[in-house]
């Protein structure tokens, strides 16, 4: 009989918090002991997220009310900039998976430039391990604090890192054209995320200025051994979940495809489609899978590499649980084998 690991979720009233609860609901090794959101303290979780009404969950409490003594691991799904204030105050023995952007960048100066503020927990920035499981598995298993990869960053890094590592693409001419669903913007009411504004429409946002560029720069440069600076344009899709990255690179399609297969064929959540096929976001919805595809352009030496994932699952909460499994000594894929929901 498996001994359950005890979990707390800080920031449980947002979409990534709810996604954690959804996934843990059928995870055989984790048990939710505390659900926190200061603004909703005292409420039943079913009143915040009625779709989880069938679960037997503790009521919402404030962070101050949590008894961390019995908690094995804490998911921190707080907003950006809040995490860095809260996490240093948590017990130093507590394992933490942070889903915010606060601990993703190792260089405080880079953080300050992209986020426009001095980091309030600089001493922990160096300690945090970047949560890209397929690349930092060992470090994550031994980490106390793991910083979840950004959802868009995940979509770009998964197809491109192996290619940079293997040297099969040019490093100075990479375009990542990306489209994402709205749930990445969170549950806070914003005019631009109203159904009437988003549905039946498509537009670019934060063109060439999205903060996930900092993650691209950090990780791609590290793996390539030289500065890599991609061109990156995210777009907003009229759908809730799903990211598709269309990457325009220069290299050989067969070498690229072979490199991806060599890297990912043994990975539990990354699937490389047959050469010539492109993935679709509706085929990974609600799952922890990432589908990759490679298609040759009609120009010899130019190739499109695609990746599709669910921003709330592989791009946030599924990834977080994958890392938590490692940190807790559980099988990495435990509880994450849910099949995508289609249609």
């Amino acid at each position: 009989m498996l001994e359950l690991k005890n979990i707390a979720i800080l920031g449980a009233s947002g979409y990534t918090g709810a996604e954690l609860v959804r996934l843990i609901a059928t995870h055989p090794g984790l048990c939710i002991r505390a659900l926190c959101a200061n603004s909703r303290a005292g409420m039943a979780y079913a009143d915040v997220f009625p779709h989880l009404r069938h679960l037997d969950l503790p009521n919402m409490i404030t962070i101050e009310e949590v008894n961390f003594a019995g908690i094995d691991l804490c998911f921190c799904a707080l907003p950006h900039a809040t995490s860095q204030d809260i996490i240093p105050k948590l017990p130093t023995t507590l394992k933490i998976v942070d889903l915010s952007a606060d601990f993703r960048l190792r260089d405080p100066k880079v953080y300050a430039r992209w986020y426009g503020r001095v980091h309030s927990a600089v001493e922990m920035q160096g300690e945090a391990v970047y949560g890209l499981t397929e690349y930092y598995r060992t470090a994550i298993a031994g980490a106390r604090l793991v910083a979840g990869t950004g959802c868009n960053a995940m979509a770009g890094l998964m197809p491109l890192l192996p290619l940079l590592q293997a040297g099969v693409i040019e490093t100075d001419d990479i375009v990542i054209d990306l489209a994402t669903g709205v749930s990445g913007a969170g549950r806070t009411a914003k005019q631009g995320m109203l159904h009437a504004e988003v549905s039946e429409g498509y537009r670019a946002y934060n063109v060439a200025a999205h903060r996930h560029l900092a993650e691209f720069d950090q990780e791609m440069s590290a793996i390539a051994g030289r500065a890599v600076k991609v061109t990156f344009v995210p777009h907003l899709l009229p759908q809730n979940r799903g990211i598709l990255a269309t990457c325009y690179v220069k290299g050989g399609a067969e070498a690229i495809h072979a490199t991806l297969r060599a890297k990912y064929d043994d990975e539990p959540f990354v699937i490389v489609l047959p050469l010539g096929q492109a993935p679709a976001t509706q085929h990974v919805r609600g799952s922890n899978f990432c589908h990759l595809g490679v298609v040759a352009d009609r120009h010899p030496g130019r190739v499109m590499v695609f990746s599709a994932l669910d921003n709330l699952t592989k791009g946030a909460s599924g990834q977080a649980i994958q890392n938590a499994n490692l940190m807790l000594g559980l099988p990495e894929a435990m509880g994450l084998n849910l099949a995508p929901l289609f249609p």
Copy 2:
């Protein structure tokens, strides 16, 4: 170690077939041995449904190619009118859950009237047990052939049957106003189901003439002990999954609410919301749950009773597995505890 039960799926190329595969993918007691669809025979299932690409599944074959010797139970997700031709040819020892409309109506004359044709397997119509688990649990457990409840019928029967049984509503003035997502119409290409025709729009269809009326009549009259003929108007929603039934009845709200709670409080998949609350289809998406709500009208003695369920899950494939579990001696809820996907 649980011994796996071997499953075949006939008609695996449609949405209910794919939903069966999705659910069985994480079901600890079932194993798919055969996937059939004559039109797709020879194909890999991933080429028919790429969202299930991560699963290790047999290739599609024809029904004729299935070796039923080792099959414990067969799901029949064939189109209406096809099932009645195929099922009589299957081994008589094979347990069958049929998801079509072919064996739902016990009276051949009623079938002929609603479906405009003489039933080709009249002898099996009487044998089939109607698959409304919460009402026919014992019979289902002992049945060889279970006929899945229609998705719209399920949405109307769940809230109304207990009220008719308890006699807490008038029987001659019941209105079921229902809205359903498009996946109930299946994967066959139809102009009326194109995205451009359905999205951003709402309309009634088959007004007062939908075939699920026959199921309403059969089941409501049986439980009430007198003829009950509801008024029923289905509408088509611009969404993929989900049915909401808004039932207008005459009775007392508190008695109605208490009756539903008494009937369903111990049921694993039916949740009665607090009096005064109404359910939402997005809160049951992808799950086997049915949410019921009761709200009093401003007119004393008039009440709205709501039910929300996912037409592909509780309305079709989840229900089918719930029944299969019973037929196979497995725990009824096994494999069906997936939490709804929201957003």
Copy 3:
């Protein structure tokens, strides 16, 4: 050569404001002289609504900045409860079409009960003419202040008023089941109207308690000559525009259909479909048309009457222009003949 009438729009930063501008853009008799929204004063209108960027429009100003001297008619698209504070301060010679709920109810006590506050301009409540053009045409033509009909109220009143007037339906057993798109909730950021909350979902709201009930009571009782209190359940659709009302009434289908045709056959914007057909919201999108349909139930003496309209057009801004045309002595249908946008 037509002399243009000069128009001001108060509350131009919301959806009904933008819809007024869209319609006036191709209206040959109206010219926009002032666009007001205190929160956006100083902005170009294209920065508030980029889809109207091609128009030559004045910049946004505050209400205080408007020079009403040259204005022939003012559309007031301010939020509920704000209109009643602003309108009494406008010049007494100014013609006004108010799109808010503030002046729809003639009885201050009824207003206070439904809106939970004492009306701040009681003296003007009696003066205002209810903006249901097809019923108050003459009074509207001579009015100084017209109070636009609520969008849901419009959808219920159009099919039912003629039937109550002609006495062809029972008055004490009327159900209006209604579904509406999200744009009726306005452009203010609200969590419940986020794309992620609304899309792929359907639910009832304000069950049996929606404020448009007050309009139903007022207008139906007036035309029937006795108290009429309908049962009314509105639902929220995952689409931007469109209302479908499904009305369950008791009467004869042919008499009902004939009554509607007699009432509306000469109306420019109301179309009665052939008996047995039901309308669809996607077929009136973006237009000022209202489609009505009548279908007999299988129960003799029970009938479904449907109406479909665009909540922002016939339900708000198109209706407002129709009334403004009358008040300004222009042809009633001027500028309102835009065909629906489908798909």
Copy 4:
């Protein structure tokens, strides 16, 4: 008093046919005399497209039944490959705007390569004028046969042609990443265009192999004076209308922006947004406008150029009417000033 020009529409049962009727409904210079679709001959147009029910239109007839004697111009909205069979049989004096792909390519060999068949009306291929109004205005005004620009081609050519003409971008490294709504796929029932397949999803299609590449090659090479071969990846959006092209080019953002403004500032339907702003498809929906935007990348010398248009309007039927106006001696923008529908 304007003398109305008489119009026939061949292929009136598809979306571009309906869009022509929608636009002509409020066009002051055109009158529809014949609506043809052999498969629907004899039907009322309202039974094919109920949203146009308010119009007084002729019934559908076969092409053979049309009396072309009184027709000034014929819109041919037939499927690809059908047009080339029909058009040669039409009276040689009839002006024709063809919306299919059949006459877009001037070189029969290029046609044969991209469309996989020998053109059946090679002699007319040379005669046809390519319908990109902003570039072929004079030739279109004098043409007998105009071949409508493909919707995706329009979205790519509008931003790029001026840049190639002015020589402000590199010609050998252009990426067009494009996303389009579903209505471009037409009204024919196809599984891949079902609501359940398209909604809540995003995927690339015809990667690097879309036939509109032939139009890009033809027109870009002609204007650049050398072979230009772009990289082009179209994606399918979960929305009905709208195309957004995100073009990745190499050049200076200010020079690019100035070039676009110089080219388009006097055009009635092309709007260049301020430098740094990107357009959105929801802001051109239902209109003949094309919005262009220019944003500099963080890499000096790399620039994103965006274009947004409605595939059914500027991308098909609006463009066709714009050309027809020229061919008939009417003001080019007549009937095309409808404002976009938002939300």
